[in-house]
């Protein structure tokens, strides 16, 4: 599309959907500010009480080995950070639900499509030209929001009462990449549901269902599968050499005989470690080191964006073969 | 301005800013084709002296705007007038009266009207109402046309014919 056409489409979007154009950045940036503010408050507390040195995760326990009273009260467990983490991730869903789904569904439901699609722009071009910039806007706002969430979670993760682990779902998802990726996917799925179903409320329900399926699949299938790709392999002994439990992700551990054969389970003897040493079995660990994290994040979110792209293409295609009715 | 009689009355201020001395009107209930109504109105205007040689007839776009008729209808009327030798179109300017038809003088007209008034008085005295008078006249006129009097009527088109357009173009294609 030419620059002139893009400008005109943007203007058309503004006139018809200015609420979304203003609302989406606002809806992302206001909570981002809140998270940022909380992060500032927490960091101030830490620096006032000289607790910054405590923010080092113990390799074995996962928590800090700091013992000062101020620190202990700081890290008293609370479920709030996890609740907030879930709420943070729920925001893109709401944006998709209330801004993405009605985009096309409302156009059909209100009959306005009979005006919009008898003007000088084809439905497909209108869709890409108006919805595209909106997704971009949402993605950029979501990235900033994700950055604020990430920054907040650096401190807040100490207050959940669980060990620090950079591969935990909350650490993985509360990043600019992940939140932007999910936002792009939710918008694309919202669009697809709106185009297929063409009535706002049923489309919203379909959206929730499909998005829920995507979230479930990502958690239970996609991430474990991704994490199992290209791990580093290391030999360890029973007590030493194990990769850090705070920064790495263990894919698999096994015992290997000198012949190379792997033990499927532990033998049923009284002193397992003595028996293993006697038979010269070695411990092995396949794990993802910390420097793989960024690549896996890119991969996972790249997959989300690819699925989103397919959803958008499917919407455009469906709109072309069935523009109305 | 529509009135309850189905006529479109001419407004006091001419819509075309006085380009033409006359303005057309429509008699919707008459059953006479629109273009013929316009032709007759021009004819009448010529006879009564409202239109003279060189006057411009209403522009097509003015007629379409005020009366909401298809421009083809107006064009058809003007073509008919051209065929009769009454008007001629000047491209880009308009349609103008070229010559007043060969009509009876005003004195003759006055005499004819007097005779007609006398007949009307007779009919009224015999108890005939307005509708009856119209019916009598219509029948007499039709019989006059059909009975070969057509050749004697001035200004009739060479193709002849009666009141019904269909009769004129029996079975022909449009």
């Amino acid at each position: 599309m030419t620059a002139m056409a893009v400008r005109r489409m943007t203007r058309a979007t503004w006139y018809k959907h200015r609420f979304s154009v203003v609302g989406i950045p606002a809806v992302f940036l206001l909570p981002a500010l809140a998270l940022f503010a909380d992060g500032v408050v927490q960091r101030h507390y830490l620096s006032v009480h000289h607790l910054n040195g405590c923010l080092v995760a113990n390799a074995t326990t996962g928590g800090s080995s700091c013992g000062s009273a101020a620190w202990v009260s700081f890290i008293s467990p609370s479920s709030t950070p996890n609740v907030i983490a879930v709420a943070v991730l729920a925001l893109p869903v709401l944006v998709g639900l209330f801004a993405g789904v009605p985009w096309v569904a409302r156009e059909f439901e209100s009959g306005a499509f009979r005006f919009t699609w008898t003007q000088g722009t084809s439905p497909q071009r209108w869709l890409l030209g108006t919805f595209g910039p909106l997704v971009l806007l949402a993605a950029v706002s979501a990235a900033m929001y994700g950055a604020a969430a990430y920054w907040w979670y650096q401190i807040a993760q100490w207050q959940t009462g669980t060990s620090i682990w950079s591969w935990r779902w909350s650490s993985f998802e509360l990043t600019p990449l992940s939140i932007a990726g999910w936002t792009v996917l939710t918008m694309a799925l919202a669009l697809l549901c709106g185009v297929l179903i063409r009535r706002v409320l049923p489309a919203m329900i379909a959206f929730i269902v499909t998005l829920g399926a995507c979230v479930y699949l990502s958690q239970t299938l996609l991430r474990p599968w991704l994490f199992s790709i290209g791990p580093a392999v290391k030999q360890v002994s029973t007590s030493a050499g194990w990769p850090s439990s705070t920064t790495t992700y263990t894919v698999q551990t096994w015992l290997q005989a000198p012949s190379g054969q792997r033990l499927s389970g532990l033998p049923a003897v009284n002193n397992v470690s003595a028996w293993l040493a006697q038979h010269h079995y070695t411990y092995w660990v396949a794990y993802q080191p910390h420097n793989h994290l960024i690549w896996l994040e890119l991969a996972r979110n790249g997959i989300l964006v690819t699925v989103a792209a397919f959803a958008v293409l499917a919407s455009v295609w469906w709109l072309r073969i069935r523009p109305a009715d | 301005m529509p009135s309850i009689y189905g006529f479109t009355m001419v407004t006091v201020k001419p819509d075309d800013n006085g380009l033409s001395p006359i303005a057309f009107y429509l008699d919707r209930g008459s059953g006479v084709p629109t273009y013929l109504q316009f032709v007759h109105q021009v004819d009448y205007a010529l006879r009564l002296g409202f239109l003279r040689e060189g006057d411009q007839l209403p522009r097509i776009k003015d007629v379409t705007r005020t009366l909401a008729v298809n421009p083809d209808t107006v064009m058809k009327a003007y073509r008919e007038l051209e065929l009769r030798g009454v008007a001629a179109g000047r491209p880009g300017v308009g349609t103008f009266i070229t010559q007043a038809p060969d009509i009876a003088g005003l004195k003759q007209m006055a005499g004819l009207q007097k005779k007609l008034t006398g007949w009307l008085g007779e009919a009224a005295a015999a108890g005939v109402d307005e509708l009856g008078m119209k019916a009598l006249f219509t029948v007499a006129l039709r019989d006059f046309n059909d009975g070969g009097g057509a050749a004697r009527l001035p200004g009739r088109d060479a193709r002849g014919g009666g009141v019904a357009r269909g009769a004129r173009r029996a079975g022909g294609a449009a």
């Binding site: 000088g120 | 084709p33 909401a68 019904a164 357009r165 269909g166 449009a174």
Partner: protein
């Protein structure tokens, strides 16, 4: 180039055919009246031509281009029966949105027309009356400077004065710009002065598709004795005959009244109603073609 060409056009919704076997050739520069009872398929036909519905069978072209294609979008304007607008915007915003969606847009025409109608640009579109909304939609359709205008019952919500005014405006556009117009209306008497081409749809099929002049020249309304109707069938082509006591009113396709019958020219309303009463009667193309029963 023809304004509209359809070949075997059909559209099915679930089980029923809204429009079927439509063969239409409407030349450019005509004002076409689309008449027919409710549910005859007028709206479906107009939507297909506007690119808002895809036909199940057959093809359609508007001004030589496929409906919905870029060429069609540039030259064809449509106004749907539902008067679609962005009801939450103000008039100024609606015009601006329309301008953004179109390559060619005559802003002066729109502004002039709306101020002549006395429509404030700050009014909210949803709060306008039905007639005002129709006027707004029509103004926008014409501001696109189309060569073909497809209007689905554009006069339905207008008062008589507004109807006259709108028709006058449309006819002036036809006179000045050579605009082709297709519009459906229930008020057939109004179409008479305005239409040069008539299409009658009945139960999804085309009954009549011919020029108005041709139709009016080749049809007569005959009045005569009711018991003479049966004989009349051998003498002329009858479209429909109505008996009322001792008198009969017959719509016939003939040039002259047969002996014993009085003939007068038909009005378009009588023509349309006559054909609608006889679903089997058809006039295809120009008169001069047989009435098919």
């Amino acid at each position: 180039m023809n304004a509209i060409e359809t070949r075997g056009l059909g559209k099915r919704y679930r089980r029923t055919w809204a429009v079927r076997d439509c063969d239409l050739t409407v030349p450019a520069g005509q004002v076409t009246a689309l008449a027919g009872p409710n549910g005859a398929g007028k709206t479906t036909l107009l939507r297909i031509l506007a690119g808002l519905a895809t036909p199940t069978t057959g093809t359609a072209t508007v001004l030589g281009a496929a409906p919905g294609s870029p060429q069609a979008r540039a030259t064809v304007s449509a106004m749907d029966q539902t008067v679609p607008l962005y009801r939450h915007l103000r008039v100024a915003g609606q015009l601006a949105a329309a301008r953004a969606l179109n390559d060619q847009w005559d802003a002066d025409l729109a502004v002039e027309r709306l101020s002549a109608l006395g429509m404030a640009t700050s009014a909210r579109v949803g709060k306008l009356s039905g007639g005002q909304q129709a006027q707004l939609a029509l103004t926008m359709a014409l501001a696109r400077r189309p060569r073909l205008l497809l209007l689905d019952e554009p006069l339905a919500s207008l008062d008589p004065l507004a109807r006259q005014d709108v028709l006058g405006w449309l006819m002036t556009c036809v006179a000045e710009d050579g605009l082709s117009v297709v519009f459906s209306s229930h008020v057939i008497a109004e179409l008479e002065r305005v239409a040069s081409y008539l299409v009658v749809l009945s139960a999804g099929r085309i009954q009549v598709a011919a020029t108005v002049d041709g139709l009016l020249d080749t049809h007569l309304a005959l009045t005569g004795p009711a018991d003479g109707v049966d004989d009349l069938y051998d003498q002329v082509e009858i479209v429909t005959a109505q008996r009322a006591g001792r008198q009969a009113l017959v719509l016939a396709r003939t040039g002259a009244a047969p002996p014993g019958w009085a003939g007068r020219p038909v009005t378009m309303e009588e023509l349309v109603l006559g054909y609608l009463r006889e679903p089997a009667a058809r006039v295809a193309g120009e008169p001069g073609v047989e009435i098919v029963r």
